[in-house]
Amino acid sequence: MATTTTEIEADIHAHDDHNHGPEPGLMRWVKTTNHKDIGYLYMWFAFSMLLIGGAMAMVIRLELLMPGLQYVEPQFFNQMTTMHGLIMVFGAIMPAFVGLANIMIPPMIGGPDMALPRMNNWSFWILPFAGAMLLSTMFMEGGGPAFGWTFYAPLSTTFAPDSTDFFIFAIHMLGFSSIMGAINIIATVMNLRASGMKLMDMPLFVWTWFITAFLLIAAMPVLAGAVTMMLTDRNFGTSFFDAAGGGDPVMFQHIFWFFGHPEVYIMILPAFGIVSQIIPTFARKPLFGYSSMVYATASIAILSFVVWAHHMFLTGMPVAGQMYFMYATILISVPTGVKVFNWVTTMWRGSMSFEIPMMWAVAFVILFTIGGLSGLMLGIVPADIQYHDTYFVVAHFHYVLVTGALFSIIAGVFYWLPKWCGNMFNEKLATIHFWWAVISVNVLFFPMHFLGLAGMPRRIPDYSLQFADFNWIASIGGFAFGLSFILLAYIVVDCIRNGKPVKEARVWESAKGLEWTLPTPAPYHTFTEEPPRELILKESSHSAH
């Protein structure tokens, strides 16, 4: 204990005197422990992965443009569907949400930074290596993973290419990164929240992420367990998933979906949070039913652990199991419905204006609800017999993950981008981009409902002739939707470099929240002094102070 209190105080004062900025040069990004720097890294990483995963989707849609095999071989096509799914889930959506949490949680709770800044740096820098390892499998002999993003055994064990061991290790690393990110978020919310902010004063984005972090900590080790069992089945002579050795391939699916279903909510709860911040701002009205939103989020999170086998209705489950999982599954639509009703009621008798973030939020509510309703249909076991593993399912999960999770991320970026970089984006271009993306995404995914009902299985590289028309429409929509991301990239870069400077701290006139009390652009170090309780209450986006 050589350092005395006085020395520490002197040190603090020294920092106060010159509020030092980032280190110059490239090493700033390698060594940074600043929550915003790390958050931006997460966002750019997620965007790059989105483009890579999107390029793979373009290959898929190109091959499916017409019947017959035109451009790729079936084995490569299967690699594309597999890698597209893995990259979008683990490389794009999850890192983007962690990035938003990193950038926004400290300013929203009146904290100085994330609680564990060095671990924060590490949890990001694992990602590019894990992503590179995952992508490198495609260049190995025998090709990359071609067994679907759900990698069911024994296709992923006995019948998989050698590169699968690299895939397993990449999944382990992605898991480490997610768990560390989650621990950091929980530690930050618990320890660095302004002392005047009670739990039920927290903005909904913080709440949803706080709950999501617990889901991550509970679910990711299960995935690590599943891939480790695969690893030993493949290399060390165990037979967890091999009936010939006393194992059970269906057990793999139970373990996978025990992770996989909470994972679905990991990708949607933060989206609920973002939308719950945006709608009150542009409806100029406090969020309706804040506490019921918090309880609904918590109930969705708890229910998400007890419904996993609804992905497995056709594996030969006993009828009692099917009944239980059907009831539990459709029960989730109750708290989810509560959320949608609350958003609509927040808009009701507001004084709405439709700036870009609000347009994305409204698109989210409508299109996510469509995905949610088809999810309700899928939950009914007898009907699921006809929907399971068809394009109906593909339509369903793209409505919740693309027009749900991804749209909320885009909404959040447009909402907070001026605060981050101090410039306003080109609103005219952003409007064009919005309509382009929203129309094309529906041309892409809506016909897939019909394809599924008409009998087209998912994950096939070629199809019989009666599916040709709708596949053609979906592909055209897909190419247009893919192109919209080039425009998105231009809008964001243009905003950062040439955007019109914003002077107001409160970028959107009616926005509430502690983040809007910070100057624009946001200072390198967030709150250096704790915001007082009066300010926190005044800035609440859900109560009428």
Binding site: G142, D248, G316, S333, L373, I385, F446
Partner: protein
């Protein structure tokens, strides 16, 4: 239950107007599930339409309120924001009402579920085994007992994959097989599903039957087919490279026609068994071998025998195929497969003469030209 025909017409009009893309013919299109030809498929269809209209109702209500609000409660129209933000009563209402709707859906769903899972009292049983990438059908009881065959993608469909001319003249492209599963009409059939390698899933939409085929385990399902006809389906669980190329075709015939088919099958099986007892000429073996190779081997080892580097070994120049002292090993790997790889055991799938033919073919095609002949008798003694 709702009036299905009226609603299905309305459904089509709604969806077509939603997707009014000029110049595209939707003529033979199913936009919706068919009602099917079994009691179960009709029950499922009814459930599907009920939930569909419940969902449409919810969507109309929620989006209606939302759109009304977006039109009327905007700042540009001078709307002044209210400040209400809490109401326990409303929260309770929109928790309990959806809950009641769910219960109303769950009751018929449970009834259908219990019915479709009850596979007892079957008149006959067919065992379905999934292979990479074909189906095996075994009639294990009743009058067809003992009939056992494989069903592969039809050669015409296979040829059409990379040939647009063949494809466009093939109305059943990718949904035709070389040998159909034949079933009698008005009979309660029980299906047992299992797999030889990875997980497959057997689906005939018109029967309302889709069930995973898991290696090492047996699942079951049933169908009482009320209408003669040809019904087509697909494998619906990703099972590797040629997952998209293992269709299912079921031909449902009258009971009399079924009895005749059974008699013909049994006679053909006896003739095939006899063909293994004679000497075959090189030409005969090569012609038969080319057929067997194309159906069973070409998917992995390639039409030209080049294989897929790193995944499936090539035939050309492979020691086991060209070394004279490896003929027993060559026969063994075909009969027993190679554990831990995708190489299946073909011993129970192919007759003695088929295996002799394909061994001879592989040793003399693809530039291997060993000149060696393997006779059905050698296969018989190797088993």
């Amino acid at each position: 239950m709702l009036n299905n025909r009226f609603f299905s017409t309305l459904f089509k009009i709604l969806t077509l107007s939603l997707l009014a893309v000029p110049g595209l013919a939707f003529a033979e299109y199913g936009l919706n599930l068919p009602e099917g030809v079994t009691p179960i498929s009709r029950d499922i269809y009814g459930l599907h339409m009920t939930i569909f209209w419940v969902c449409v109702g919810i969507a109309v209500l929620v989006f209606g309120v939302m759109i009304y609000s977006m039109i009327n409660h905007r700042k540009s129209k001078g709307a002044v924001a209210s400040n209400f933000h809490e109401s326990t009563t409303i929260e309770l209402v929109w928790t309990i009402v959806p809950l009641l709707i769910l219960i109303i859906i769950a009751v018929p769903a449970t009834r259908v579920l219990i019915d479709l899972e009850d596979t007892s009292k079957a008149d006959m049983t067919v065992k379905i085994t999934g292979y990479q990438w074909k189906w095996q059908y075994e009639y294990i009881d009743a009058e067809g007992e003992g009939i056992n065959f494989f069903s592969n993608l039809a050669q015409k469909s296979r040829d059409g994959i990379k040939n647009a001319a063949i494809r466009s003249s093939d109305e059943n492209y990718l949904q035709d097989v070389d040998k159909r599963l034949v079933l009698p009409v008005d009979t309660r059939v029980r299906f047992l599903m299992t797999s030889n390698d990875v997980i497959h899933s057997w689906w005939i939409r018109d029967f309302g039957v889709k069930q995973d085929a898991n290696p090492g385990f047996i699942n079951d399902a049933w169908a009482y087919i009320e209408k003669e006809g040809v019904y087509r389906g697909k494998c619906t669980e990703l099972c590797g490279k040629d997952h998209g190329f293992m269709p299912i075709v079921v031909e449902v015939v009258s009971k009399a026609a079924y009895a005749k088919w059974v008699a013909d099958e049994k006679a053909a099986a006896a003739a095939a068994a006899a063909s293994g007892d004679r000497e075959w000429s090189m030409d005969e073996l090569m012609t038969q071998g080319a057929k067997v190779y194309s159906t069973n081997c070409a998917a992995c080892h390639g039409v030209t025998g080049a294989g897929v580097p790193g995944a499936f070994p090539a035939m050309t120049g492979s020691p086991i195929v060209v070394d004279a002292d490896k003929i027993p090993a060559h026969i063994d790997i075909i009969i027993n497969g190679k554990s831990g790889t995708a190489m299946q055991a073909f011993g129970k799938q192919l007759s003695d003469s088929d295996i002799a033919a394909v061994v001879t073919y592989e040793r003399n095609a693809f530039g291997n030209n060993t000149g060696e002949i393997v006779q059905p008798a050698e296969i018989k003694s190797a088993r």
